[in-house]
């Protein structure tokens, strides 16, 4: 009997052993699902009388935003408060980066203050990876250049799963400025890993055919894509990144790719309309459509908090790789 008992084993549990979250490209489908399941538990915390748990009590989180951002920083900050962590915010203008300190030196100084979790937004792709390789602290990528924005994609996936009950098999259209969008990249990796069908739509200058190599479809005809979509994710036209002209003008963009009231009539009644914000009303989306019944834009904001709580808890809650290595290393 003893042998039999052992063969049956215990319940299989999902595994999470990462100290950093740098992008969705590195994660397996199981790991992504684990984050979404954990976010479910943290979303429930928001409904309690006391919306705060002691999970990260005594830990220090540094919000290090070298590129300006209000909503992502605020979301991480509130998530950290709800986990009982202490939070310091550092912005680019306030930091010594403007005085010529290198990124690595700034980060080492933060570590010398015993920061446990570093949430980094940076204009250079790979900056979070650079620091993750060098610091004992957990590093969470809050957007690096045009590379990845993993927590945004995770909250998009969470919102889709919450509303539609699944992700596999859904047809998701990502519309707009794909070339410059880290949100698009992280979404593409996550959606494909979880079995969705992804179509990118936009002007050919902003949606190059090269993206097909990732396993997505590319289309330049929005009116053909909309009727089949289960989810449309509209990306903001990033004026601040477009120093050169990628399309003739906003008027033409709206005419060809904007989700106008008329165009929204092509959508299936249960198709979800998403936008990572901040929205340019009247450009990529009409005001009425953004506020309509199919829009889940505000759900995305609420879910972002739960997803970021899950990510901070998961990366900050495990013994860091470095400390584990040190613990296991032979005594010399």
């Amino acid at each position: 009997m003893a042998g039999k008992n052992n063969e049956l084993g215990r319940q299989m549990t999902a595994r999470w052993t990462r100290k950093d979250l740098l992008g969705l490209r590195d994660l397996s489908a199981d790991e992504i699902s684990f984050v979404l399941d954990t976010a479910d538990a943290f979303k429930q915390v928001g409904t309690r009388e006391i919306k705060k748990v002691p999970a990260l009590r005594g830990r220090t989180l540094v919000n290090f935003f070298v590129e300006p951002s209000t909503r992502t920083r605020t979301s991480f900050e509130l998530a950290a408060f709800r986990l009982s962590a202490d939070v310091i915010n550092i912005s680019a203008t306030a930091s010594s980066l403007t005085k010529g300190e290198t990124l690595k030196d700034t980060a080492r100084n933060l570590e010398a203050l015993h920061a446990d979790i570093l949430v980094l937004r940076h204009s250079s792709a790979g900056a979070p990876q650079f620091l993750a390789d060098r610091l004992k602290a957990s590093v969470i990528n809050a957007g690096d250049g045009a590379h990845e924005h993993p927590t945004q994609a995770l909250l998009d996936l969470y919102t889709i799963r919450e509303r539609r009950g699944k992700i596999a098999g859904l047809r998701v259209a990502i519309i707009g400025d794909i070339l410059f969008s880290r949100v698009a990249r992280s979404n593409i990796f996550g959606l494909l890993k979880l079995g969705a069908h992804v179509t990118l739509v936009g002007p050919s200058t902003l949606v190059p055919r090269e993206f097909e190599k990732l396993g997505v479809e590319v289309s330049y005809k929005i009116d053909e894509v909309l009727p089949r979509a289960d989810v449309v994710n509209l990306l903001r036209i990033q004026h601040e990144r477009q120093r050169r002209e990628y399309f003739p003008g906003l008027g033409e963009y709206i005419r060809l790719f904007g989700l106008t009231k008329e165009r929204a009539k092509l959508l299936k009644p249960d198709c979800l309309i998403m936008h990572p914000g901040p929205i340019n009303r009247g450009v990529e989306i009409d005001s009425d459509v953004a506020d309509g019944l199919q829009s889940v834009i505000l759900d995305q904001v609420t879910n972002g908090l739960a997803v970021r709580m899950a990510v901070l808890y998961m990366c900050g809650g495990i013994a860091t790789a470095t400390s584990t290595l040190q613990a296991c290393a032979p005594q010399i």
Binding site: A2, N6, E7, Q11, F34, D40, V53, G317, A319
Partner: protein, 192 residues
């Protein structure tokens, strides 16, 4: 797996399905005796086996006391005191309790009672939902080795153990195998 087959650790059966059934039925009787206002009782299971045990105890109370009492789930992972010390993260599940908790009696239900740290975390979790009139504790097995001043109100079986021994509980619903409890003497290298 092979290693386990060739070299199984010594395991002693402690309870079979019938013994578990009787223990839970007796706990149901005791809960009815000690709580005249049964309608105010909530059975809050700690995942995953505690949730199933709470469901079964509620079933016995329905049979014996002819009353449907409410059950809930109380997940303790985010209230534990060992954050940052684990190389692998345990699954966190959503808690679910009937609200408001004021003037109610919450009975925490778990399979094995050991150090008391899980129950402390469960009490903290309950407090974040509100302030119940009283909190009680029901466990299938009390194996001793308390590290905190906490004691169960309802015990299925007292089972004195050595700290290097392990209690394994298996339930049909959570483990897809016949109900059983057994004691394992771990011989693994991690036993200091």
């Amino acid at each position: 797996m092979n290693q386990l087959k060739e070299n199984p650790p010594a395991a002693v059966p402690v309870m079979d399905a019938e013994a578990i059934r009787r223990a839970l039925q007796r706990i149901a009787h005791e809960i009815i005796e000690r709580n005249p206002q049964l309608e105010k009782v909530v059975l809050a299971g700690i995942p995953s086996r505690g949730v199933e045990l709470a469901r079964r105890i509620a079933g016995f109370i329905r049979e014996i006391g002819k009353i449907d009492i409410e059950t809930g789930v109380i997940d303790v992972a985010m209230h534990r005191d060992d954050v940052g010390t684990r190389p692998e993260l345990p699954m966190v599940r959503a808690s679910k309790l009937p609200l408001p908790l004021e003037e109610r009696t919450v009975i925490i239900v778990d399979d094995v009672f050991y150090t008391g740290r899980t129950v402390r975390a469960a009490m903290d979790a309950i407090n974040s939902f509100g302030r119940p009139a009283r909190v009680q504790l029901a466990v299938l097995i009390d194996r001793g080795h308390r590290e905190l001043p906490i004691r169960p109100d309802y015990i299925g079986k007292n089972l004195p153990t050595a700290s290097r021994e392990q209690i394994q509980v298996r339930l049909q619903e959570t483990d897809k195998a016949a109900d059983a409890v057994w004691l394992e003497k771990t011989m693994s290298s991690d036993a200091r």
